[in-house]
Symmetry: C2
Subunit: 245 residues, 2 copies
């Protein structure tokens, strides 16, 4: 169950991140189609908690740097190593496509680091973006790191939906694709989940964390280059990952 008011807080937060401008009560209420009164209550709550302030009455609400101060601390919970960001930065530079690091979260994969392509037509991914774990290359690169038992447990929770023409819609289809991935030594997907989108991914275990790296972009650019991309992918992983011992 979605807790509406919890989601609303995040919506306001993201609204500020997007617009990068102060905002009045009326503006927010109109934008989200919220009643003025509810918007007022939300803004009051955020202000009392020290996350917003109103330098002068009716002239708009501003976010305080408290968001940043807290986020900085919260991001120490489980920081990624510095090299993983360098890795996707290089990957994006060499391939010209968007590169990302994904982590599992239930039946979903979450992007926990992203470097976007600079191409005008590109895969627009964001940190925190979630995609079905079984219907994406980055997701399947995560599944490869699961034990068969863990995969079984997960499959029972997945709601198989036909996102695109090639979406695997059964446990068998997924397992078959996983075996194929092992054979070719990388994961790939063509519009399995998002239209026109192709991806190439490999597992990237870090410590005891099961992550994956993915390069993704429009099918027409990635199309027949998945093998070449997988070579670059593996070469760069090899270069950046610290040698054990």
């Amino acid at each position: 169950m979605i807790v509406r008011q919890a989601a609303n807080v995040l919506d306001i937060f993201e609204y500020f991140a997007r617009t990068k401008k102060p905002t009045t009560l009326a503006e927010l209420a109109d934008h989200f189609n919220w009643p003025r009164s509810s918007t007022f209550n939300l803004l009051t709550t955020l202000s009392e908690k020290g996350y917003l302030y109103e330098p002068r009455p009716r002239a708009g609400y501003y976010p305080t740097p408290r968001w940043l101060a807290m986020a900085r601390q919260a991001s120490e919970v489980e920081p990624l190593p510095a090299w993983s960001h360098a890795l996707i930065a290089d990957l994006s530079a060499e391939t010209g496509e968007t590169a990302a690091i994904a982590a599992p979260s239930g039946t979903m994969a979450v992007f926990i680091d992203v470097v976007e392509s600079s191409a005008p037509i590109r895969y627009f991914a964001q940190i925190g973006h979630r995609i079905p774990i079984h219907a994406t290359s980055s997701g399947r690169a995560l599944l490869l790191q699961y034990t068969p038992e863990e995969r079984d447990a997960l499959y029972r929770k997945i709601e198989f939906k036909q996102y695109g023409p090639s979406t695997p819609i059964s446990i068998n289809a997924v397992e078959t694709e996983l075996r194929a991935s092992i054979d070719r030594d990388y994961c790939e997907s063509f519009a399995d989940y998002s239209r026109d989108l192709a991806g190439v991914a490999v597992p990237l275990p870090i410590g005891d964390r099961r992550l994956s790296v993915v390069v993704a972009g429009p099918e027409f650019r990635i199309g027949d280059k998945t093998h070449d991309i997988s070579i670059v992918l593996k070469r760069l992983v090899e270069r950046h990952r610290p040698k054990p011992g």
Copy 2:
């Protein structure tokens, strides 16, 4: 009115910032005395929005870097100039006390930047921390920048409470203290709001923003040094603030 679930989101956020550790549903529920089921709903909401993820079932929730990514963007809404942080850093170093920048928010003042003293006994202030505008030195340094009309409007909203022995509990008391501040050329307060706390502050207009700088610490250390501190305060403001023209 406080929106409970909105506040809860921030509480969870701050919990991660404080503990810097992943957290299980049960742990959170116990800590905040929330029912498991409500906690479950909240965590689900935060996960679906991409702010939390659960790498493996029952092994705990982790914050995603999305908090940080959004906060970075949101902090571009109204960035402080670089010199204002340098100012309070120097201030804190020279005085040995906590220094901060405050902004008005209704009848409150909010700290929007803080450098804490390194002394073991010190004023523990945080970005986002709110204090009554009329009963603190930093707040009154803000009030000095208001027009008499604006102050009048504000006074009507203030609920005068006796926070400490010297809290000004009437409009007159506040106005008298403001005139005294003009005469001595800086604002000061001794436990007007927080017990044992003394502060020295001056206005710090930046652009069209009405801010203030404050040095605050325990009364026994600040006590009779307020004048000396005000000298340092004004000297450093003079040094850091870019010359007009």
